[in-house]
């Protein structure tokens, strides 16, 4: 029983990362109708950002978020101006198609860039507190991974607050609902797109830094994270950041439960089966509007 509890708890902790990774993708997709398949590569860059700060300047990986997030925000703005800004000029139906092409190109370019800058070696950030645990009865809670869940929760909460209170946050939501109506009411839709993309990239950067502390980063981790994020986005549906986060937690726990019942090799399969079932039964997603 404790073994099962332990596994489900660890699943929940991974789920936090899934949720954070998916939140950025969901925001961009929901607002811009653009599917950024290079989202995983942005996560990878965030991871290397934290890695650089840790090895070159000795910054603690959690403290490095204070630099990684603004850095990713700027990177997101730059990517919007140079690439994705052109995609949203196209009619809505062709946006996803065009964004797929640009996204794949960007993913390949960023992968090659990462190999140049950091080589193909696996990197991780060793910390003095790595492997420290909090013991609760017979269940041990790894502190680093608990901290990643907490940070992810705080970031999602901050984003939710931003979207509901801030003037431009409301503009982003209005654009997501109906960009033409938003345009008619005088909202600068382009600016809302830019902000959404920059915020999405910032979330990816933060997720990358957390992935690097809890696991490791290499230039090729992009695709697996894009796919995970995509599963969560479909599972949770668009419209709510907390919904996406909970979707991530659900996937994490479902994977752990399936590994516990059917064995390790079936971990991923169950996630995909849930994905297909949700697509068929509830195409809007669990929390979609």
């Amino acid at each position: 029983m404790t073994v099962l509890a332990q596994q489900l708890l660890l699943g929940l902790l991974i789920g936090g990362l899934y949720g954070l990774a998916a939140a950025g993708l969901s925001l961009v997709f929901g607002v811009m109708r653009v599917l950024n398949v290079a989202h995983g590569e942005l996560i990878m860059l965030g991871g290397y950002g934290a890695f650089w700060l840790a090895t070159l300047l000795g910054v603690d990986p959690f403290a490095s978020l204070a630099l990684v997030i603004p850095g990713a925000l700027l990177l997101g703005a730059a990517l919007y101006w140079s690439l994705f800004g052109f995609v949203v000029r196209a009619p809505e139906e062709t946006r996803v198609k065009n964004s797929l092409l640009i996204g794949f190109g960007l993913a390949l370019a960023l992968h090659a860039l990462a190999v140049r800058l950091w080589t193909a070696d696996e990197r991780s950030i060793p910390t003095s507190y790595a492997g420290a645990v909090l013991t609760l009865g017979d269940v041990s809670i790894p502190l680093v991974r608990l901290a990643t869940l907490a940070v992810a929760l705080v970031l999602i909460g901050a984003l939710q607050l931003l979207l509901s209170r801030w003037r431009w946050g409301k503009a982003i939501r209005a654009t997501a609902e109906d960009w033409q109506a938003a345009l008619l009411t005088g909202i600068d839709v382009r600016r809302a797109y830019l902000l959404a993309f920059a915020l999405g990239t910032a979330l990816a950067g933060a997720a990358g830094a957390l992935v690097t502390v809890a696991y490791s980063v290499s230039p090729s981790i992009g695709l697996e994270w894009t796919l995970k994020a995509l599963i969560v986005v479909v599972l949770a549906g668009l419209g709510s950041m907390f919904g996406t986060f909970v979707g991530g937690l659900v996937l994490g726990v479902a994977e752990a439960a399936s590994a516990a019942t059917f064995g390790g090799p079936y971990r991923e399969i169950v996630g995909l089966v849930i994905f297909v079932i949700v697509l068929v039964v509830r195409p809007r997603g669990l929390f979609g509007r």
């Binding site: 596994q7 193909a120 790595a130 492997g131």
Partner: protein, 393 residues
């Protein structure tokens, strides 16, 4: 003037036959990026140094003439479909032999291309035995195979005093052909070595959570953990073993711990892990000193464990080329099959199925360094056993 220069460049390009007459082309497809990137880097270092040293001596003597080697090396990004595509394009460019990359799954994909193109293939960091049982004629691997690793695991355990040897073992089996093969080999070896496999769990490569296996091993109180994870998986396993408070007395994680990133990322937690690279820079054989010097110059450290076998592949190829007397794929194949020579990894011969009869070696990470622990005659350090708990390092 510029036009003339351009013309000269173009005409050089138009005459590949001129260059081909001078150099023997060898094609290598190595994973320089992706999950096997760090291992592939070692393979490449071995090939590069060997070709440089052979060419510095004028090249290989074929039919009384010295001919330099031309190494054409491509990256397959640790992706087997790309391995196949790259090998095909090298084949079309007229290479006489293939040199392989790193990782049994990539080698398995490559073997059938080599067979189809009737081009001899030499591959190391490749312990999969099954592929050699499919009647391939052009596949050669001067590297120890799963049954050898299983058998020599007994010798490794024999370094430990009889009463203290691990009695219970957990096998973390990667769900691949090689994973299955090693699990069988280790289960078999247990009968002679006196240990019982108490946990035999599978996982899919690339998993982010190994707690189901680790918790099973912990609750079964397994003395040792054996596995063949990829580098990212291996690092995750060690991190999570520490988090879950489980330190096996002996940990063998082949492949994951082959390269320096292991210790860079894990620090002290990576110590005490045993690897089965098959070679170590402290092994004594002709040429090892020169190889270590060249590696030291390039990378600032003696040769890594996979560099030696990679270097040996080029030695075997060069030796076979001069015995074949021509840069001909079929003659070369027969000459490789008849190999009987001493390389930097010691004496090498091939069995009829293409597997090598070669020296074996286990190393162990100690204080951030790979120390050779077996065979005893070359050992640089005794096997550190049992491993102290992660929390007390």
């Amino acid at each position: 003037m510029r036009v003339l220069a351009a013309l000269a460049v173009v005409s050089l390009g138009l005459w590949p036959s001129l260059a081909a007459a001078q150099a023997v082309k060898i094609g290598a497809v190595v994973p320089l990026t992706g999950r096997y990137g760090p291992g592939g880097a070692q393979v490449r270092a071995g090939y590069d140094i060997a070709v440089e040293q052979i060419n510095a001596g004028g090249g290989v003597s074929i039919g009384g003439k010295k001919v330099p080697l031309e190494l054409m090396l491509l990256d397959d990004e640790s992706d087997a479909t790309k391995t196949v595509a790259r090998l095909e394009s090298l084949g079309a460019q007229g290479v006489v032999a293939y040199l392989g990359g790193f990782g049994s799954d990539l080698h398995a994909a490559a073997a059938s291309v080599a067979e189809k193109n009737r081009t001899p293939y030499l591959g190391i960091a490749f312990a999969l035995n099954k592929i050699h049982q499919q009647g391939f004629k052009y596949l050669f691997s001067p590297f120890w195979k799963s049954p050898d690793i299983g058998k020599h695991t007994q010798a490794l355990l024999a370094l430990i005093a009889a009463g203290e040897r691990p009695k219970t073992v957990a096998i973390f089996q990667e769900k691949t052909d090689w994973g299955q093969e090693m699990a069988a080999a280790w289960t078999e070896a247990g009968k002679a070595a006196g240990y019982q496999v108490v946990v035999h769990g599978e996982y899919a490569p690339g998993a982010k959570d190994f707690s189901d296996l680790i918790l099973k091993a912990k609750s079964a109180n397994a003395d040792a953990v054996f596995g063949i994870p990829t580098p990212p998986d291996g690092m995750t396993i060690v991190k999570q073993m520490k988090e879950l408070g489980y330190t096996p007395k002996l940990t063998i994680l082949i492949r994951a711990s082959d390269s320096p990133p292991w210790t860079k990322n894990l620090g002290k937690d990576g110590d005490y892990t045993v690897l089965a690279a098959g070679w170590h820079h402290a092994m004594r054989a002709p040429g090892v000193k020169e190889l270590n010097e060249a590696h030291e110059k390039k990378f600032g450290r003696p040769a890594d464990p996979i560099v030696g076998p990679a270097y040996a592949c080029v030695q075997i190829l060069a030796n076979a080329l001069s015995r074949a007397g021509a840069a001909d794929r079929d003659k070369l194949r027969d000459a490789i099959a008849a190999t009987d020579m001493t390389t930097v990894i010691g004496p090498v011969k091939f069995r009829p199925d293409g597997t090598g009869i070669v020296q074996a070696a286990f190393a162990q990470w100690q204080n951030g360094k790979q120390e050779l622990v077996w065979p005893k005659e070359f050992a640089t350090a005794p096997l550190a056993y049992p491993a102290p708990p992660f929390a007390k390092r």
